[in-house]
């Protein structure tokens, strides 16, 4: 997403950028509960919201916080909550209700290690939870995975638009590394609240000018519930068709494609570059949307001659399932990851790239600096 070039670059922490960019997207209602490592986000909101006529409310629990997002969204506002892994589990029911009532809203997960209380170091072990089963029932939600502080600014801004357009909760799946990291960022322009999408379905009070609006997810007639779910899945099909996003790096001629998102994609990129220098035709495919998974980008890599995929993650192997589904038997799929808050190193990632390349009989040329340069 191109930003206005005359905007000033500022050095900011990822968590604070998520907050500021949400405010610029028109979010004036934030409901949070303290948890490491996302605390700077809530602290930033607590400081900023009262100055701009917004609401920061520290809820009594993650459960209350997501239900406040539900209420604010029902009332027609752009609303957000943020947490980290154990807290996001508590939000699951509320997110299911939002999906069931077709309410837009943004949920931030600055992931830490799990299960249970886990740890407080960075992790990507909520991939399954975010893309599959955050709550009960038949539903999906768009999930965005930033890999830089700049992308945190861009994607939270975008997530509000997607949420409103499709009337769905959306999630930013970040991790403790990105949340705590400081990088230069160009912030998006502040939205005029008057220009935000109209929400004629919202419960704002009828003003005696229309029939009452009801925000609800209860359908006691099976046929009615089925029809509602089928209609929602038609919307999901539109999201799959139009909202997939991925970044590719040296994938065009790649025999081995590393798939990595978020913080681990930055390590994977270094390893890919190193592998190129060592003569392997390796590329990086970085999903920006985790749901919908960028199946089209995987297909393009397969069509371009990819023979093997290596999913590199900060967990025990979760996204690799989606890679397998997208590859659908047309290539080898392998996984390398570290968990518990440990970040894979470029060197160990390179080892796994080379092992996979050898196992599928990939061609190795002499170190080819020109190829690397051309690809960058």
């Amino acid at each position: 997403m191109a930003q206005a070039t005359d905007e000033k670059r500022v050095l900011m922490k990822g968590n604070e950028v998520l907050a500021e960019s949400a405010i610029r997207a028109g979010c004036r209602f934030f409901f949070g509960y303290p948890i490491t490592p996302q605390t700077e986000l809530a602290a930033y909101m607590a400081k900023r919201m009262p100055k701009i006529g917004g609401t920061y409310l520290q809820a009594e629990s993650e459960i209350a916080a997501i239900n406040m997002v539900y209420g604010a969204a029902a009332a027609g506002a752009r609303a957000m909550t943020s947490s980290s892994s154990p807290g996001v589990s508590l939000k699951g029911e509320g997110v299911s209700y939002m999906a069931g009532a077709d309410l837009p809203g943004v949920i931030i997960n600055v992931e830490r290690g799990g299960p249970g209380l886990g740890g407080i170091q960075p992790s990507q072990s909520d991939y399954w939870q975010a893309t599959r089963a955050l709550g009960h029932g038949d539903f999906f939600m768009p999930v965005f995975a930033p890999s830089t502080v700049q992308e945190m600014a861009d994607l939270v801004y975008h997530a509000f638009d997607v949420a409103d357009e499709y009337r769905t909760p959306t999630m930013i799946l970040a991790d403790g590394l990105l949340g705590q990291m400081m990088e230069p960022v160009v912030l998006p322009p502040a939205r005029d609240l008057a220009d935000l999408p109209a929400k004629p379905w919202a419960t704002t009070g009828t003003r005696m000018a229309r029939r009452h609006n009801v925000v609800n997810s209860l359908y006691l007639t099976p046929e009615e519930l089925e029809r509602t779910n089928v209609e929602r899945f038609e919307r999901y099909d539109r999201i799959r068709a139009t909202e997939q996003r991925a970044e590719t790096y040296l994938v065009d001629d790649a025999e081995v494609v590393v798939v990595a998102f978020g913080a681990s994609s930055r390590i994977a990129r270094s390893a890919v570059k190193k592998a190129r220098e060592r003569g392997w035709r390796v590329g990086l495919l970085r999903p920006v949307t985790l749901w919908p998974f960028p199946v089209d980008a995987v297909q393009a890599a397969l069509d371009g001659g990819a023979r093997a995929f290596l999913s590199v993650e900060m967990n025990m192997g979760q996204m690799v399932d989606d890679v397998r589904l997208a590859v659908n038997g047309r290539a080898e799929v392998a996984f390398y990851g570290r968990t518990g808050g440990i970040i894979p190193t470029p060197a160990e990632t390179l080892e796994h790239i080379e092992a996979l390349a050898r196992s599928v009989g990939a061609t190795r040329r002499d170190a080819d600096a020109a190829t690397t340069k051309a690809g960058e």
Binding site: F29, E60, I63, N67, G71, A74, H212, V214, V215
Partner: protein, 316 residues
């Protein structure tokens, strides 16, 4: 004569030509709200003696005979009419027997997840402070799964009104023990009677909430006779007025019946209510900051914390 009103919500503010002007309010005359007048085609000599409140839709409710949900919801609708606030009111429905009350009120309605109505109401009120926001909740919803949301919305002094139906049982799921089930009361999950040594004691919600500084008004009422129904309506109206006037959080607890799950006839259930519920849950006003001489709950809270310097400090 017909007293049916048509449709929901969008009633015009001015009576159409040709309609009779309303008769002055008398013993058996209903003073119709202005927006409702044109919907009643009064002929000369006719007068309205009863009609469905405009804030009530013409959807038939789903309650059992002898259940007081229907009475209480009608009282809420009458109060909404009398205060002329239907167009600015947003109601929050709970999970339980009254879950579908979003179909019964003509104002905007939100169905919340189990127990979370106060959190939802909080957010709606924060987004639209000019609106009137109420939640309607049963005892399982409010005092068991939603106790945290209940206590915290109250202590934050949210300017919302909570209508709390206490019938000492889970109705919709078929009669399980509730947080308000009386000692030794038999339910599906206290088949030998509620044993307080293992299941603990019932929660007295008005008493509990009246200790919190954010609460402006908490009253317990009953709907087992006409006099108390009228008192209940006065309490509900006051609770809404306190919200509108910014006094603070208001709650009305209605001691109610559940003949179906109590295994009684409607008449027996009202007798049981009088015999067992009312001694345990005494009716009365548990908090009324105005009666205590304060304009708002905030003023009362400041007085209570008079000896605490930091609590007296103005916001910088």
């Amino acid at each position: 004569m017909s007293t049916q009103t048509s449709g929901r919500g969008g009633a015009p503010a001015t009576p159409a030509a040709g309609n009779a002007a309303p008769k002055p309010a008398g013993r058996h005359v209903v003073q119709l709200p202005e927006y409702q007048r044109e919907l009643v085609d009064l002929q000369p000599g006719e007068r309205v003696v009863a009609c469905r409140p405009h804030a009530f839709t013409d959807v038939q409710n789903s309650y059992c005979p002898g259940c007081t949900h229907g009475i209480v919801q009608r009282l809420v609708a009458e109060v909404i009419d009398e205060l002329g606030i239907e167009g600015i009111t947003v109601g929050i429905a709970p999970v339980g027997c009254s879950v579908t009350c979003y179909d019964f009120f003509s104002c905007d309605m939100i169905e919340a997840s189990h127990g979370r109505a106060p959190a939802v109401a909080t957010a709606v009120k924060r987004v639209h402070p000019e609106d009137v926001v109420f939640s309607y909740q049963g005892d399982g919803d409010l005092a068991s799964i939603g106790m945290a949301e209940t206590v915290h919305a109250a202590t934050r002094g949210e300017k919302i009104t909570v209508i709390f139906i206490n019938n000492a049982i889970y109705g919709m799921t078929g009669g399980q023990m509730a947080p308000t089930t009386l000692p030794n009361q038999v339910t599906q999950t206290s088949p030998y009677g509620r044993d307080v040594s293992t299941a603990g004691y019932p929660v007295r919600v008005c008493e509990l909430l009246s200790t919190l500084d954010g609460v402006a008004y908490a009253e317990r009422v009953s709907c087992d006779n006409l006099k108390d129904i009228r008192a209940a309506k006065r309490a509900i109206k006051k609770a809404f007025e306190y919200q509108i006037e910014g006094v603070g959080y208001s709650l009305v607890e209605v001691v109610s019946t559940c003949p179906t799950n109590w295994g009684m006839t409607p008449q027996q259930s009202f007798d049981w209510l009088r015999e067992n519920m009312l001694p345990y849950y005494p009716l009365g006003v548990y908090r009324d900051v105005r009666a205590e001489g304060f304009a708002t709950a905030a003023e009362a809270a400041a007085a209570r914390a008079a000896a605490c310097p930091i609590a007296q400090k103005g916001r910088e």
